[in-house]
Structure formats: C-alpha cells, structure tokens
Symmetry: C3
Subunit: 356 residues, 3 copies
Amino acid sequence: MKYTVAQLARLLDRSFQGDGTRQILKISSWESADSTSLVFLEAKHKGDIPPEGPMAAAIIASPGLAAPNWTAIISEKPKLDFAKAAQLLYPTPRGSGARHSSAVIAADSTLGAGVDIGPQVTIGARARLGEGCILQAGVVIGDDCILGNHCVLYPRVVLYPGVVLKDRVVLHSGVVVGGDGFGYVFDGERQVKFPQVGGVVIEDDVEIGANTTIDRGSLGITRIRRGAKIDNLVQIAHNVDIGQHVVIAAQTGISGSTVIEDFAIIGGQVGFGDHARVEKGAIIGSKAGVLPGKIVRSGDVYWGVPVRPLREYKLLNALFGRLPEMKADIDALKQKVKMLERHPKDGEPPISRLKG
Amino acid sequence: MKYTVAQLARLLDRSFQGDGTRQILKISSWESADSTSLVFLEAKHKGDIPPEGPMAAAIIASPGLAAPNWTAIISEKPKLDFAKAAQLLYPTPRGSGARHSSAVIAADSTLGAGVDIGPQVTIGARARLGEGCILQAGVVIGDDCILGNHCVLYPRVVLYPGVVLKDRVVLHSGVVVGGDGFGYVFDGERQVKFPQVGGVVIEDDVEIGANTTIDRGSLGITRIRRGAKIDNLVQIAHNVDIGQHVVIAAQTGISGSTVIEDFAIIGGQVGFGDHARVEKGAIIGSKAGVLPGKIVRSGDVYWGVPVRPLREYKLLNALFGRLPEMKADIDALKQKVKMLERHPKDGEPPISRLKG
Amino acid sequence: MKYTVAQLARLLDRSFQGDGTRQILKISSWESADSTSLVFLEAKHKGDIPPEGPMAAAIIASPGLAAPNWTAIISEKPKLDFAKAAQLLYPTPRGSGARHSSAVIAADSTLGAGVDIGPQVTIGARARLGEGCILQAGVVIGDDCILGNHCVLYPRVVLYPGVVLKDRVVLHSGVVVGGDGFGYVFDGERQVKFPQVGGVVIEDDVEIGANTTIDRGSLGITRIRRGAKIDNLVQIAHNVDIGQHVVIAAQTGISGSTVIEDFAIIGGQVGFGDHARVEKGAIIGSKAGVLPGKIVRSGDVYWGVPVRPLREYKLLNALFGRLPEMKADIDALKQKVKMLERHPKDGEPPISRLKG
C-alpha cells in the first residue's frame, strides 16, 4: 500500500507539517531510509539528529522534535503511530483462494472463501477453515481442527487433531499446537502415561513465535486468550491459561495448569511451576523462576529465582555482592570482641595494638 | 474401545460398587464428564465433592471416598488406575498398512507389516521399519535408520541417517534425532568441526516431546534407555546416556557425555555441564544447574545453581532473604563495638545514649 | 575418502612413525576402533593406555605418548589434527544436481550448477541458489532468498522471504531463519505489532543447530558473521549481531539488538537482555544472565545472574554457602556484645558463663 503524508496523518488522527503530498511507500530505519520512507523519532531518542532531518518522505515525531523545515507527522506517541502506519502500509496478507496441487486435503474438510493452501500442506478429516486463511508450505492441520477467519500459518506449523484457532491467529514456522501434555504416573516400575485427551483453544489476534510448543489439555483445555503475544521457543504445558494481551518472551516455560492473567508481561527464559498464578498486569523479569502454586500479585515487577519484588531483589543482589565485605566485618568484629572480652576493663585500648 | 464398569474393574484388578453394567466410553474431568465418562478422586483431593457424586458412568476413588450410592471402582491408587483405564479406553493406534501416494519411499527400504505412511513422508535408502509403525505427515527417515515395531512418529519428525529406534517409541512433532553434536576445536583462527559420526539409539517405550533435539554421538552413541520420558524443547547433546524410566521436563539441556542414571527425575529448564553424572533415582528441581563433571548422588532432592541438596538450598535461600537484616546487625555491632572500644571501662553504659 | 598413514601425516603437516602404508578409512573412538580406524590421544588423557596401543590403523598422539611399536602421527595438537583428519576423510557433501520430482520450484528462481533438491522441497519466487547447495527433504526457501555456494540445509529448514546465506552455511533440521522479531507497542488496550520488515544475513561457514530460531531485523539486519557456530534451540532476536567465529551453546537466548563480538564463547542457557554487548573474546558461562545494555568486557570469564567475573562469582558463591555460619557468627556476636555492654567493667569474664 502507499499513502501521502496527509492521508497517513489523517488515518492516524494526527496533524502534520510540511509537504503533505509526498508519497510514503515503506517504513525504514534512519540509516536505510530514502525519499519514500517513513521514519520516527521519540523524545527519549539519544544521539545526534542532523538538522536537515532524515532522508525520508516524512517523519513521525514528538511535538517539538521536528524542525520547522521537516515534513513531519506530529504525535504524542511516535513509536505507536509508526507501528500503526506500518500496519497500514503492510496490511496482513489475506488468502485469495490459491491451492497448490501438491496439497493433501481431506475430502470432508471445509475451506472458507479465499483460503490459500501452499505446497505440501496436509489438511485432516473434518477440518474446517474460515475465510481467507493462509496455510504456507508444509503446514499440517490435524483431523477435526477448526480455524477462524484470516489465520496465517507459516511453513511447517503443525496442529494436532482437534485444535481450535479463532480469528486472525498467526503461527510462525515450526509451531506445534496440541501435542500431548507431559504427565505420567509411576507405578513402581515404570511411568504410565496420564491421559492427554483435552483440547487447545487459541483466541483472536494471538501471535506465536517460531518453534514454540503448546500442549493440549490433559482432560481440560489449554487456552491462549485474545491478543496474547508469545515469542519463539516457548513451552506452554497442558491446561495452562494465558490471559488477554499477555506478552511472553522467548524460551519461557509454563508448567501445567498455571494461569497468567490479562496484560501480564513475562520476560524470556522464565520458568513457572505448575498451578501457579500471575495476577493481572504483573511483570516478571527474564530468567525468573516461579514456584509451583505461587501467586504473583498484581501491580509490581518481579525478578529472581524464586521471584521477589524487584526492589527487594535489587537490594538482596547488591548485598550478595557485598558478602566479602560483610564476612570481613564479621571476622574483624569477632577479633575485636575477643579482645574486649579479654580486657573488659583494661585501661589501655586493647584493639589499638592490633591495628597499629 | 468401551468397557462396562465391571469389565474395567476386573482389568484393573479392583473391586467395584454400584451398577457394573454401565458403559464407559471415555475418561473426563469432573467438569466435562457425562453419563459415559470415567472420572477419578484421590484422598488428597481438595474442594467440595457433591454428595450425589460426579455426573459420570463411574468413578475410581480411594477407599472410603465414594458414597454408598455412587457407582465406583475402589482403588488404592486412583490416579494410576485412571491412567491405566485411559490406556485401555484409548489404545495406542497401530498402523494398518496405509501408504499415502505422496510419500517418497526408497526402493531398498524395508517396511514391516501394517506400517502407515502419511502424506509427504520421506524414507531413505536401506531404512528398515518394524511392524505397525505410524509415520504421520512430513516425517523424514534418513538413510539406514532402523525402527522397531509400533513406533509412532508425529508430523515433521526428522531422523538423521543411521538413527535406531526400538519398539513403541513415540516422537512428537518437530523432534530432530541424530543432528550433529556441537563440538569444535579452535585452531587459533577459526573453529574446526570435531567429527560427529556416532549414532543414536532410543530404546523401547521412550516418548519424546515436540521440538526436542537429540544429537548423535561424536564417535560413540547417544542413548535414551527404555521407558524414559522427555518433554518438549529439551536438548540432549552428543554421547549423553539417559537411563531407564528417567523423566525430564521441558527445556532442560544436557551437555555432552553426561549420564543420567535410571529413575532419575529432572525438572524443567535444568542445565547440565558435560561429563556430569546423576545417580540412580536422584531428583533435580527445575532451573537447577549441574557443573561439568559433577556427580549428583542418589537418594536426595537437589536445587539451585550450582545444585545443592534441597534442604541446604532452602536454608541458604532463606538466609539470602535475610541479608538486609544481617547487614543491619553487622552495622549495629560495629557501632556498639566501637563504643565499647572507646569506653571500655567507662562507668556509664555507652550504648544506651545511642539507643535512647 | 581414504588415505594411507603417510598421506594423512603429510596433509596434516606432521611426522609419523611405524607403517605409513596402512589404509585409514574412518575415525573412531578407542572402544569402537578397528584396523581401518584413526584414533587420537592427548597428553591430558586420563586412564590406562594399553601398552600394545589402540586397535587401529594409526593414532594421532602428542610427542612422547606413542610407544615406539605403535603406528602414529605425532602432533602437538592431536585433537585438532584428528578433527582435520576427519574433514579429509568425510568431506562435506556437495550437490550433484539431483532434483526430486516432488519439489516445488518457482519458475523464476535461479539454481546454480550441481544443486541438489530433495523431496517435498519448496523454493520461492526469485530465489537464487549458488553452486552445489544441498536442500534436503522438506526445506522451504522463501521468495527472494539468496544462497551462496555449497550451503547444506537439512530436512525441514525454513527460510522466510529475503534471507541471505553466504557460502558453506550449514543449517540443521528445523532451523527457522527470518521469522518476525518480537516487538509490540502497547496502545493502552492491546499490543500493536511493531514492524518486522528487516533482513537476515548469515555469512560464510556458519553452522546452526537443530530447531534454532533466528529472527529477521525489525527495520535493520540480523547478522551472523563468518565462522560463527550456534548450537540447537538457540534464540537469536531481531537486529542481533553475532561476531566472527563466535560459539554459542544450546538454548541460549539473545534479545534484540545485542552484539556479540568476534571470538566470544557463550555457554548454554545463557540469557541476554536487549542492547547488550559482549566484547571480543569474552567467555560467558552457562546459565548466565546479561542485563539489557550491559557491556561484558574482553579478556575475562563471566558467570552468574547478573554476570560477574568468574573469580568474583566463585568467591560470592562460596560465601553464599557459608551464610549459615555468618548468621551464627552474627548471633553470637550480638550476644557477646550485649554481655559486654551489660558488664563493661565487671571483673569477671561475662561470656565465659555462657560458653561453659
């Protein structure tokens, strides 16, 4: 897509200055921008800004940051408006009904209008796909899966049987949804598999990164709620419930039946024991560890293994770094006290000789 | 499959009460159960139990937990028997000889009776598959691989050449077995690849979760022994030896030549240096770190980075949380001792003025 | 390939002793060696060495380690020469122009001489592949990708559109290159996707392990420089820059825009915040955590969360283990000081009664 500066400003509901007729074809970084680019500048930007401004069609900038001679869209939230502009310039692709001859599509599956099916795709029995879905090369849709409208599945995504995706779900390459949860009961000699016969539901506008794995519920449902965003190589175990608009960074692992409530933000490489709960909007830093059954309260930032409020963690970590000094203080105190005990009423200062 | 309550009780070698003629078609959670469901109830169950019992065909319950009016199978181990019942109700599927026309099967490979080959499967030269194996869509079997009987490979599993699976091995989607181990020798200018020409053997009844990677031995063998269960996104390096019935949770990584002995239980996101050893039956908590060459002894539970016995770890972690208090105590002691040193024989209590 | 002992010694630029005419067909461990094997022995070898030497065609050994009756290549760096010998014995396979009929190759793509295309491969529009590349089963090459010469892509590798590989890049099964980076801007109600429209460049001789994910730049480029080696299940985020000959072990995660300079060595399960920098040749131990924006200096080994120089970490960890003793010391000191305060000039030793 392309827009003039004036069109884009209007769509973003922002004012602009300079030449509103310039064509914007793409977004760019400052380094790679050219005369068809849109760039952005935030108030917290560090570093030099050339007085002639960026080599770009236009800039989205905080009020006061754009020089009078620049063509600029003025925004209180330049990064957010830049992201919105990108969505206008690069609309999510929607299927047009292309079907590659190498795809293997069950006769009793149902495909909505405008579904694109790439090479080597497999669609199982009784699967139902909504309008405009795009299934790229090598995607496998298990029997009885249900997809809403306008889902995009990148190459080699696998849905086990019975998985449900709502609308506009985006799954990146190598994502596996609906594999068996990890549950066994030891009978004294061997591990007996606990049944993994539940389902997975992924709601509207969820996006999931490459090679992430999401297990089916054992008896119930694993659920990823509306608008949640999950990075690469994340593990979501059986019966986990991820809230709306939650963000989870790469390589985090969430054990069975844990609940992450709406708007929580989870860093990378975090680990959650089972049956834990993160309350609405809580923030958990990277590499943190949450014990089984733990409740992480709203309204704070958490860090560490096991998680603690960030302020507390920082204090403890600082003191951890001062352990040598604390140890030395204790040793000196022991020495001094020993001297005091020996000479409790000796007229001469007993320690001074040691010091000197 | 379906069973009457009486049949199932007999197969589980348990007694039952109530209507033994009821048909059981499935297992369910209490919430989703209906008149054809089997549910279970353990003594440690928390929460209310409706006096009329579950809406189910029958319940497996600990002695004394089932009201007299319920139809129930009475078991000392309800969860284990529930798992066993599930295996009866949902027997592992076995191949029936279906071969999809899109599969690419080397002419000199050997397929046992009843092997199912899904769409887009590739089977390499001289590969040999035992009876009743199921290869789902897009599985790749490298040259010279050998599979036992009744293995199930979910979509997109990849076996590099020469991998050996024994009987009833289950590999979930995206598992990669037999990739090169990670070994290089620095020649002063660049990393020279150390040869990775060994093999992988995965024994009977092993199950491996989605997107887990298992490297081939460099010169020797990477081995996963009978009955071991490995979760999603786990990394098993070259020459690792995983013992019988070991359980390893998600995202754990095991470096080269490390040995995990039989019946050990390893949490999620644990990391093992190379040439470490976990003795039989040891338990290692999630997120722990085991140093290279470390021996983790039998008969205990371990935690932390580096691992320590859990009791010790708990004590240390509690004291870590009390560092501010310890620091304050030290500072107060320093002050008091300074006063004592100044006034070792002063008649008045020198500290009281500070306190008061 | 096969070589005589004399040929191999000459190619390695080393001297040999014994029977130079023996044929070497393979490398082996001592345990699995036979009369056509090459084995090696380093000075730091522990354990018994049978006086008759290995059952092998020849051994590469440090000076003085090989008995006079052994056939041996004498090397100051036996392991390195063993690795080099392996490269001679097992040269990297190069394509010969085989094309499987099931592959789907865009009409406007360009394939160099001797490119091998396996079953179920998909090659997108305008893609260009250099000479002798090997694409194994199920590889997906997105539109506009550019591959240099002699790249090897194992089964199921996915390149998103526009990815650039230089020469001799090796990607193991399940690697995903060029997926969207993980960036969102919260608009107060939902996460708005920040554009991920940059590229990925992977330079000469890079090798990347199974199921590793490498995201495209958001606006700029994600770059893996010449000779870098990356293990399995690693996450490389948008705009990361990995230096030449860097080594990164399994399950490490690197957040956006972080820079790892040349020759750095990174352990497994390490986590990097965004915009961090590791200076040339620094070594970071497994499970370490590097905070956002942190600079890790050259010339040292680092450990811990957050990272500290190893010496410091070891000291702190040792003191951490002594916290119970420190706590006990503090408590004893408090008691003693209390006694001293009570009896500052009392004639009798006030503590002795407690002790006794």
